[in-house]
């Protein structure tokens, strides 16, 4: 009977769509990866040779190194359903600390570098303390510390830049991450390499260790996590501490990239990092997302900016497109959540 066949088809259909939804739900990187591949295809056809030139590809990787690294830190925080608005200020503060300790206080450059990263850890610990011990919302805590760290940057630097030549003369280790390995036309900087290594390490921790599972669990449902014996406060605190440390490390990458140590810049780093995380498929509601997705998200932003510029489009279209990508990514996340509950 034809009428009996119909529901059968429908259930098959339903099963297929359910399978697709489950696949997407379990692999949040698939969509960003598709966007990246599509974007690359479009730009290479519009811009042509120059876009896919190894030099250009490695250039974009250099350009997203700092924001990518900060976005890795932001991913950890957002996985726990938090948000960190102070990341950009921590990056600049750490770089200023490294420079001032090495140049003004004549510490050995290696020690200044370690202490600079420790300053980042300290900032992260401060955020973590307020979030876990005083139990304030991360948004408010980091809104406050963002201002605090910015003020510290000004106090310490006096608004002054340390020039590239001075650092080269007395503390070249601070610029080491800017050294490039040449592979044909491509230039891979040490900084980009370190970012990829860090991403690998974080991927391993999040996907292959009990601690990583705890981070996801705390983001998904803190109460359930606590009841199942996870030390939620400890997990949260270590996440903020790790994020601060990664930002301190990003301060070193920043010096490598611009050669100088400058109190300028970094104003939009916090929002740019959130952009990369969101476009990379990590959910702002916590518990779902991935490190690899964030890397892809940072690359999407980098390639879209580079491609649109090479295509000769106005700067404003770059902002326009990236804004839309954010909204599409979040809508998609919402839809997946609704449909898979």
């Amino acid at each position: 009977m034809a009428s009996n066949d119909l529901p059968q088809f429908a259930t098959q259909d339903a099963r297929l769509s359910r399978r697709v939804i489950n696949l997407l739900h379990g692999n949040p990187t698939i969509i960003p990866l598709l966007v990246l591949v599509l974007g690359l295809a479009v730009f290479s056809s519009v811009v042509g040779q120059r876009f896919f030139h190894p030099f250009n590809l490695s250039l974009v990787l250099q350009q997203v190194t700092i924001i990518g690294t900060v976005a890795l830190a932001q991913t950890l925080i957002i996985l726990t359903a938090g948000i960190d608005l102070s990341v950009g200020a921590i990056v600049v503060l750490s770089s200023v600390a490294m420079g001032r300790l090495a140049m003004d206080h004549d510490l050995p450059p290696g020690l200044a570098l370690a202490l600079g990263i420790a300053v980042g850890s300290g900032c992260g610990a401060l955020n973590g303390f307020f979030v876990t011990m005083i139990r304030l919302p991360p948004f408010i805590v980091t809104l406050g510390t963002w201002s605090v760290f910015n003020a510290l940057i000004q106090f310490w630097s006096g608004g002054e830049t340390i020039r590239q030549q001075e650092i080269e003369a007395s503390a070249p280790v601070l610029q080491w991450t800017g050294e490039a390995l040449r592979m044909g036309a491509a230039r891979l900087t040490i900084g980009s390499l370190l970012m990829l290594l860090l991403a690998g390490l974080l991927w391993y921790v999040l996907n292959r260790t009990a601690y990583g599972r705890h981070v996801y669990a705390v983001g998904n449902d803190p109460n359930a996590a606590r009841l199942s014996g996870i030390g939620t406060r400890r997990v949260l605190f270590t996440v903020y501490l790790a994020a601060g440390t990664i930002c301190g490390f990003a301060g070193w990458l920043l010096i490598g990239r611009i050669g100088a140590i400058s109190p300028l810049g970094g104003a939009m780093t916090n929002l740019d990092s959130i952009t990369a995380v969101v476009i990379g498929g990590t959910s702002l509601f916590g518990g779902r997302g991935s490190i690899i997705g964030t890397l892809i998200g940072a690359l999407i932003v980098g390639f879209f900016r580079n491609g649109l510029a090479l295509a000769g489009l106005d700067v404003l279209w770059q902002e326009f497109t990236i804004g839309f990508l954010i909204i599409i990514a979040v809508s998609f996340d919402q839809w997946l959540r609704r449909i898979s509950t």
């Binding site: 201002s147 608004g159 030549q165 990239r257 050669g259 100088a260 300028l264 090479l310």
Partner: protein
């Protein structure tokens, strides 16, 4: 999400409260306020220093405010409103958004406060009582002329020029320096108040570098991708120039084949002229700008004297000097050595 927005508004309210001045002037005291774009840039830091020193010398009260980032109009509005409430006699303003701040400036003037625009003219320029600034068009013209003379007529005809400007919104300073450079180099600038309406094939492109090292590097890299044969670089300020230099170095173009020009005259920039990174820069005098501003407010508070503009200009020109170690025919300049005596920041 809703709570996030609520938190956002709460956050802004907190920020507004934090922006309130700590001390109110006593009646009878003269109070001068200075509002800069940010408190991060050494140029603004120097102004604050110059204004504070002058205020102390003249025995008047002084308060400084700053936006949170370049382009932060809201914080500047709050600062002006606070100074009106505090009964200030004069406000020295470095506007972030030269058009959007005008209605608030009008409020201050209606309250009998003398408003002097420093460094950045408002739009229209007479929205402020007076403007004390570097002649930014001239600053650009000097470095543009220097680049053309240095290349020589034939090479200048075939030059490939990269422009690293500050911001998409085309702030006056940004446009004037850029257009001045073009004029000096011999490019038809069409409308002098608009960037990007030129069609000279020598222009490789404009990138917005935001006045920082990071922006300078990213922008230069993009322009090198557009055309690797760039041999002249205009930069809005010296941090941008330092960033552009990093990009050129990364591309193996740090062999002296590229001329970098800039504007500012900050000490790190002057040292970069000495090291051959920057070919020429136009020096401005922020300390003088700020101290003249304080003097003008005090004169106005005492007997209502209004400051007068320079001969033939609609603002008071606080001076600009070309700094280069490779002087050219017909352009007066000082060496980096001499400039180190005068530089700021």
């Amino acid at each position: 999400m809703k709570t996030l927005f609520r938190l956002g508004t709460a956050g802004s309210a907190m920020a507004l409260m934090l922006a309130a001045p700590a001390a109110f002037a006593q009646d009878g005291d003269i109070l001068v306020g200075l509002i800069t774009k940010t408190d991060t840039n050494p140029f603004f830091a120097k102004m604050r220093e110059g204004a504070a020193a002058k205020a102390e010398e003249l025995g008047v009260k002084f308060q400084a405010f700053a936006g949170k980032y370049d382009g932060d109009n809201d914080t500047q509005i709050t600062a002006i409103e606070n100074l009106i409430a505090a009964g200030a006699d004069g406000i020295l303003l470095l506007a972030s958004d030269t058009k959007a701040i005008v209605p608030t400036v009008q409020k201050a003037r209606d309250a009998g406060i003398l408003v002097i625009a420093l460094d950045t003219p408002l739009e229209p320029i007479d929205a402020a009582d007076a403007t004390f600034a570097t002649d930014n068009f001239l600053a650009g013209e000097m470095i543009g002329g220097w680049a053309r003379e240095t290349l020589g007529e034939e090479a200048a005809q075939a030059a490939k020029i990269a422009f690293l400007d500050a911001h998409e919104s085309q702030p006056t300073v940004d446009v004037k320096r850029d257009q001045g450079f073009m004029q000096g180099f011999g490019i038809d600038i069409k409308n002098p108040d608009r960037r990007d309406d030129e069609d000279d094939p020598r222009i490789v492109g404009h990138e917005m570098a935001g006045g920082s090292e990071v922006g300078g590097r990213d922008g230069m890299e993009t322009l090198l991708q557009k055309d690797f044969d760039v041999n002249v670089v205009y930069t809005i300020n010296e941090p941008t120039a330092a960033g552009a230099w990093e990009a050129l170095k990364g591309a193996g173009k740090d062999d002296g084949s590229v001329l970098i020009t800039s504007v500012d005259g900050g000490c790190p920039g002057v040292r970069n002229v000495q090291d051959g990174v920057i070919g020429a820069t136009s020096m401005q005098f922020p300390l003088l700008m700020a101290s003249l501003g304080v003097e003008a407010v005090v004169a106005f508070a005492k007997d209502g004297t209004l400051p007068a503009p320079s001969e033939g200009l609609d603002f008071y020109n606080t001076g600009v000097k070309l700094v280069t170690d490779k002087p050219v025919e017909g352009l007066e300049s000082i060496t980096s050595e001499e400039a180190l005596e005068l530089c700021w920041g």
